[in-house]
Symmetry: C2
Subunit: 223 residues, 2 copies
């Protein structure tokens, strides 16, 4: 009982701070996505492909959430865009306070597209508002198509599902049909994209989608 009350308080104060951060992001016209998924779903690899495809058109920046290491941030930095590393010190999710600190370290007037890569975890990050305009969950073929029903909150609260590693589909018993069926039950408005970082398949379509959304938000490169 006590644990639940405390969790409510934590979530409440997270919401208040997230609202403050959202005002800052909106004031700077920064479209922000919260990038979620299991450990090993391929979040960083998908993000690298998106950066290659989109960095000429947008001022991108990344906030990298990790328990302890800087491994993912180093991979992103190699693409020449600003990265802020947030080490959670073992905590299982990013929260609004961490995002507030990270935003203070970015040159916000030079950004129009911010990606927050969360800690690899299909449970806890679903509960934390990071001021994002869109939630994107990455699910890999090799995790199995039963994951949306087993971890429903993450899929119910996300706007976009990226199904990654489709090059491995033939070596698994993953049912794409069941996946689409389950998603239509859980979250019928969810947009689904199928991609492979190994072959590059699907990224044109995915990045077109984000480009259109950014255009709607008025965010084009204004250099």
């Amino acid at each position: 009982m006590k644990q639940i009350e405390v969790k409510k308080n934590i979530l409440k104060s997270n919401e208040v701070l997230a609202e403050k951060n959202r005002e800052v992001l909106n004031a700077h016209g920064i479209f922000t996505i919260n990038f979620l998924g299991s450990p090993g779903a391929g979040k960083t690899s998908v993000l690298e492909q998106m950066i290659k495809n989109m960095k000429a058109r947008h001022y991108m920046a990344v906030i990298e959430g990790d328990l302890y290491t800087t491994k993912d941030a180093e991979r992103i930095e190699a693409h020449g865009i600003p990265v802020i590393q947030v080490n959670t010190g073992g905590a299982c999710h990013l929260d609004a306070a961490m995002i507030e600190e990270a935003l203070a370290l970015l040159e916000l007037e030079k950004i129009n597209f911010l990606v927050i890569e969360n800690v690899g975890n299909l449970v806890c990050p679903a509960s934390y508002d990071l001021s994002e305009h869109m939630r994107v969950t990455v699910l890999s073929i090799t995790e199995g198509n039963d994951k949306p029903l087993k971890y429903p909150s993450m899929f119910q609260r996300s706007d976009v599902l990226i199904v990654n590693k489709i090059d491995l589909l033939q070596f698994t018993n993953f049912s794409m049909e069941e996946l689409y069926q389950d998603i239509s039950c859980l979250n019928k408005d969810m947009k689904i994209f199928e991609v492979s970082c190994a072959t590059g398949e699907g990224f044109d379509k995915l990045c077109d989608y984000f480009n259109t959304r950014l255009q709607q938000e008025g965010g084009e490169k204004h250099a």
Copy 2:
């Protein structure tokens, strides 16, 4: 600050209850393992292979932790061994109170080998003692060999690492050499087994290991 204090209290009361559960398990001579890993690492599939291999020799039972569904418990039940389903109602890990409730539903005098399959999560479950005699973490090839360094607590606090889906090794850039190196830095006493549920490779060796451990604990089928 407040959050950390609360977490300490929760962990403390978990420890006290875990100690009570451990006395119950020891009094009945039940060797217990806590089965951990990311969503989609293949915990249930590995467990099914172990059950097929070991159920003739041991009185097995399984406690299945899941957020909401009974999907995994149904798979285990099909093998004809007792299963208790624990739905955490969205919580990201099992705790000692849930195990206490599950133990009350099992015929303890008829069991010598209990497997607790935790919620798929490479972070939070590492902090919760479930009275286990051994922690076993399942990591799949398709998650990437960087996971032990990125999620160190789980690997530092486990006794056995099962590397699953080795049939997919050739289609990934997973480095087995780096994995063994990283594990030797994090936890040099960790036993590593490589398996494939698709081909059955590696399970004889893995089950021999558990059989030997159970024999040392005095646990053979005594029907």
